[in-house]
Subunit: 156 residues, 2 copies
């Protein structure tokens, strides 16, 4: 399955196009739909993105929440109606729709930040600020990751 790590800052040209980092494109090469799926984060001023397979797994996950329950309603309403399919052009760029740009407050440049199974698009400065906060919180709350396997590792 696709892996997204690292951060790349690319320019948004006057037509509203951005190059998707070649590394990320390579991670999506297997996919039938050549492009990305993006939706505004309901928590952050960022866009959450991945390949279509990830969107499918999200949908899959929501089916495990009771239909007609408030949780189900909230989640599916927050996630899916504003999600967009953004196909690559010949050079591996996407067009960022107005609504998405506005949500992430994008102007000149866009930062593509890997998040493991998916990635996010940020206004570069906002990303830096957010990362700093997140690191702080992770340290304060002593977040750890239990690793699988015979030995345990903790890294905060």
């Amino acid at each position: 399955m696709a892996v997204f790590i690292d951060t790349f800052v690319n320019k948004i040209d006057r037509k509203g196009r951005v190059s998707v980092p070649a590394t990320f494109r390579a991670a999506l090469a297997e996919q039938p739909f050549q492009g990305i799926v993006a939706f505004p984060s309901f928590q952050l001023h960022a866009l959450q993105c991945a390949g279509m397979d990830w969107m499918q797994s999200l949908i899959e996950s929501t089916t495990r929440v009771d239909l007609f329950s408030p949780e189900h309603d909230d989640l599916t309403a927050a996630l899916f109606p504003d999600a967009k399919q953004l196909p690559f052009d010949g050079e591996g760029r996407i067009m960022l729709p107005e609504a998405l740009c506005a949500h992430a407050r994008l102007t000149e440049t866009a930062a593509f930040a890997g998040r493991g199974r998916y990635f996010e698009i940020w206004e570069p400065q906002a990303l830096e600020a957010y990362k700093a906060e997140a690191r702080q919180r992770a340290a304060d709350k002593q977040r750890t990751l239990r690793q699988q396997g015979p030995d345990q590792g903790s890294n905060r």
Copy 2:
């Protein structure tokens, strides 16, 4: 599974390249991605490195945490955006990006220090200082290590 021990000091050339010690490369020979994954250590002025399988297992671990939870957000934000994939060139070297060099205060040379399942890259003098401190602490606090047996534990 890959094993990294011993320390090797190699030169950083003017293009920012360093040879990864042949021993470490050999430990990663099985991997589909020929290169290493590196990210700035949270506590130390060093880079923590391993093969892609290690990063995959990290990602795997984060998928066991609820998506959109604060815990998930903090962890993935602290780990993945600053991690870099560094592929080997034909001679087994990697390019150290500016950001990583800055974090580890690397200039002329880089010390590759095995840490068991992963390894670290240090400014050689800083590594010496750190090792001395660590040895001292280990002795002072009488660190012990439970060996593998019926139940696993990590000592704190």
